[in-house]
């Protein structure tokens, strides 16, 4: 399939040069590479610039409220596990207001691919600090510099039992396509944290800033089965690894539910449910 297959004629609301464009392109290319039919993909998003993404894709989409991408995506996946479910959130959406859901989705190993558009800033609300904003960063809510330490999403993912932990960069399209393909193919929860420069409000973490720091982890001797090595990689600050930090096989949540082994919930006939055996127990 070609990536144009997912094109929809809808005017973009992102700023020219926004790091979200490459993520959109990469997602389309990945879906095309995997030959996923339009009707079998569901892209769930929340609020923020990242939340607009289902508007630009010819697939099923759900743009929920702020921070709740993963609960909605979980409901979708458990109801029809034949679908490819992709969650897209920003760093505020995914790591701030929705942080609790992330931890639990990872420990459950729900079979969802979660792309976090991490621009280290609140863009849609015109520039406030996010959970991943650097220390000392000056924003509208931190005019004298950010005094909070940024959280480390990949380290949290590893500690929460995520089975696919990775990082991409909007400035490396082919690499990102490959990462999303692997994330979707992975059976279980895949976290893809994407460095996504915000050209309007993040004056620090620009394309150039990342270009000077990133390196491809898969071009080193990094062993993706090694949890300790992965943890070490999340701590690097001067050089920033992109690629798969950690991947392991574990049963997915949906594979452990006998209720949907034969047939997904949505395919089950509900017209004649017989509850007489249950009533009998109450006699």
């Amino acid at each position: 399939m070609k990536s144009e297959n997912y094109f929809i004629n809808h005017k973009s609301q992102w700023c020219p040069g926004c790091g979200n464009f490459p993520i959109l392109s990469a997602l389309k290319k990945a879906l095309a590479k995997l030959n996923i039919k339009n009707e079998n993909a569901v892209v769930v998003s929340g609020i923020g610039c990242s939340g607009k993404i289902p508007h630009y894709l010819k697939t099923y989409g759900f743009e929920g409220v702020h921070g709740r991408v993963l609960p909605v995506a979980t409901g979708v996946k458990l109801s029809n596990n034949d679908l490819t479910v992709i969650g897209c959130a920003g760093d505020g959406d995914g790591y701030g207001i929705g942080g609790n859901h992330l931890i639990h989705a990872m420990r459950r190993n729900i079979d969802i691919t979660y792309i976090v558009h991490n621009n280290q800033i609140y863009g849609l609300t015109t520039g406030q600090v996010s959970p991943t904003t650097s220390l000392n960063f000056k924003s509208k809510t931190t005019p004298f510099g950010n005094i909070e330490n940024p959280l480390n999403p990949l380290s949290i993912a590893l500690s929460s039992g995520a089975t696919f932990v990775s990082r991409g960069f909007s400035g490396r399209l082919d690499h990102l396509v490959n990462l999303i393909v692997k994330g979707i193919k992975h059976k279980g929860f895949s976290l893809i944290d994407v460095f996504q420069p915000c050209v309007s409000f993040n004056y620090l973490n620009t394309y150039d800033w990342f270009e000077k720091r990133i390196y491809d982890l898969q071009k080193t001797k990094h062993n993706t089965n090694d949890l300790f090595a992965a943890h070490k990689k999340t701590l690097e600050e001067n050089k920033l690894p992109i690629g798969i930090l950690y991947q392991i096989k574990k049963p997915t949540y949906d594979s452990l539910l006998p209720q949907i082994k034969k047939q997904s919930l949505v395919k089950q006939n509900i017209s004649k449910v017989n509850i007489n055996p249950l009533l009998k127990e109450l006699e």
Partner: protein, 568 residues
């Protein structure tokens, strides 16, 4: 005079078997053909404290409590201190022989060597021993105990059941041998078809299963929690995904995700959890996603009295979430209505593609009652949900197409040609975000039309009785004690029961209220919330109010006393 009715109260610390003993006695008396109403009173802790379980048995259908009791089973001495004053004349206290009981006039003391008898079973089976004593006092033989214990202890070994029956027999014999007084309550078997004994929460869960609910995501919260338990117990039998979530935000959003995918889904909570769900409630409204929410009220605000009853969430539920969107709010008044309204809620949610809230309370959720087998011919109606075949033939699909009744064709993921986005933003017919002022108004009006149509379908009230002069207006769990009072007062008043608060049956209620002379509102809250809604909707101010907000349910006696004063 011998009476084929009895009220038994069991009291003791939490964890001492108060509930299991109550359950055994309820089931036993029901199998003798009587109607049972059982209710629980307990504080918010697991061990210790003071719990009671009250079993009321009558030869006619009942679903409310009285203020007196006939037998007090005291599993500790504190129970006697706290409740012996509730005993009726010639009532009895059953307790262990070692307890110190001060002499009470007119009360039959029935000390039983419970602890001593249990020594034969390594100190176990105290429940069965106590049950045996109580059944002895009621002059019932133990023939059917075997069946009841087999059902209650299903999965336990034959030996355990046999030993329990033996334990019950020991105390049963002891009572028959030692207590020769004439206890006025003698239970006689009534021949009648088998009935079921269940709580409001069980009725809600069974109706949900019957309605084809395939997905429930919820966070435990008293008094709604046991809905989740029943669903979990039956998830593999009925292929239902039961998800206990990390919080209520996840619970409602997961249910919305499931429903968007085409599966009937629900969540259940109490006021505090519902407070956390309110943002996503609006999401279901604007994205036109069907959803069933059970809100079992307890006494707030905040943590409040977590294990006690209240009807103070009515306004909150009615106005929950920012903005304006159609919301259907149903208020069943008894356990049978819990079953029917919950089933109905799933049909309404899909038909009108909007959230439906079923409001109950601790009294309904956790009280048990004998009811007839529910109607099995309930039909599922999925509204304008497209089949795969229908969807495949559609061109230029618009999820939120403007229609006369406001309801649009609903396609679900996996269906060809119909891909679309559902959004929390205001949107155009296709689902794309639109901030256009004309579209905005048309969309709000489209969604509101659904509620207008629903109002024509839902019968939102019931009239009980034919007295046109005096009218009591009420809702929810107040229904049953009011109806029992109506019988005691020989139909001196009629009851207008409001079942659907949104859409509110304004026209019909106005007609009914206008015809009555004396209007009295009965509600389990401090500010007469339903009366306020009635005033707002139809301009009639009901000034005569019977309000109760101590966390305890209305008893028949309470309502009777209040109405006697007001309807001279």
């Amino acid at each position: 005079m011998e009476r084929n009715e009895v009220i038994i109260k069991i009291g003791g610390p939490a964890g001492s078997g108060v509930n299991s003993l109550g359950h055994i006695l309820s089931k036993f008396l029901q199998r003798e053909g009587l109607y049972i109403y059982s209710s629980k009173d307990y504080p918010s802790l697991i061990k210790g404290g003071h719990n009671t379980y009250t079993v009321r048995a009558e030869s006619k259908k009942i679903e409310s409590s009285l203020d007196h009791i006939d037998i007090l089973i005291a599993l500790d001495e504190k129970t006697i201190d706290l409740h012996s004053n509730e005993l009726s004349k010639n009532g009895a206290i059953i307790c262990d022989s070692s307890f110190k009981i001060k002499g009470k006039t007119g009360v039959h003391l029935s000390p039983i060597p419970i602890k001593q008898l249990s020594k034969k079973f390594n100190g176990k089976y105290i429940n069965s021993i106590t049950a045996g004593a109580c059944l002895g006092l009621l002059q019932l033989d133990l023939t059917i105990l075997d069946k009841i214990l087999k059902q209650i202890f299903s999965g336990k070994s034959e030996k355990i059941i046999k030993d329990n029956i033996l334990a019950a027999k020991l105390s049963h014999d002891y009572v028959l041998k030692n207590f020769k007084y004439n206890f006025p309550h003698k239970i006689k078997k009534i021949k009648s078809p088998l009935k079921i004994f269940l709580s409001g929460n069980e009725a809600v869960a069974l109706a949900s299963i019957k309605a084809g609910c395939k997905f429930i995501s919820a966070y435990p919260m008293t008094p709604a929690t046991s809905i989740l338990h029943v669903m979990a117990n039956n998830d593999q039998k009925y292929n239902i995904v039961v998800k206990q979530t990390e919080d209520e935000l996840a619970a409602i959003n997961m249910a919305i995700g499931a429903s968007f995918t085409g599966v009937r889904s629900m969540t259940a909570t109490s006021g505090g959890g519902f407070a956390l769900m309110t943002e996503a409630l609006g999401l279901a409204g604007i994205s036109e996603t069907p959803l069933v929410i059970i809100e079992s009220q307890r006494a707030g605000p905040s943590t409040g009295l977590p294990t006690y009853t209240d009807q103070s969430d009515l306004r909150f539920v009615l106005h929950a979430s920012q903005g304006e969107f159609p919301k259907i709010v149903l208020c069943p008044g008894d356990i049978e209505e819990c079953y029917h309204q919950t089933f109905h809620a799933f049909n309404l949610a899909e038909k009108y593609q909007t959230p439906v809230i079923v409001m109950i309370d601790k009294t309904l959720s956790e009280s048990y009652s004998t009811i007839n087998y529910p109607n099995n011919n309930l039909k599922i109606n999925r509204g304008k949900l497209l089949s795969n075949e229908q969807a495949s033939k559609i061109k230029n699909y618009k999820r939120h197409q403007f229609t006369q009744d406001g309801i649009s064709l609903r396609a679900i993921p996996g269906q060809k040609n119909c891909y679309h986005i559902c959004s929390s933003y205001e949107h155009d017919e296709t689902g794309f975000t639109s901030e256009d002022p004309i579209n905005r108004m048309k969309m709000l009006e489209k969604r509101e039309r659904k509620l207008e149509k629903a109002g024509k379908e839902i019968k939102g009230y019931k009239i009980h009785g034919k007295n046109s002069k005096n009218l009591v207006v009420s809702w929810g769990s107040c229904k049953t004690p009011i109806l029992e009072t109506q019988e005691l007062m020989k139909n001196k008043f009629s009851l207008l029961q409001i079942i659907c608060v949104s859409p509110f049956p304004s026209k019909e209620v106005k007609n009914i209220l206008n015809k009555s002379k004396n209007l009295i509102i009965v509600e389990g809250n401090q500010t007469a919330q339903l009366a306020g809604i009635i005033k707002e909707k139809i301009g009639i101010d009901i000034k005569n109010k019977i309000l109760k907000y101590d966390g305890r349910p209305f008893s028949v006696d309470y309502i009777h006393n209040e109405l006697k004063k007001r309807l001279k």
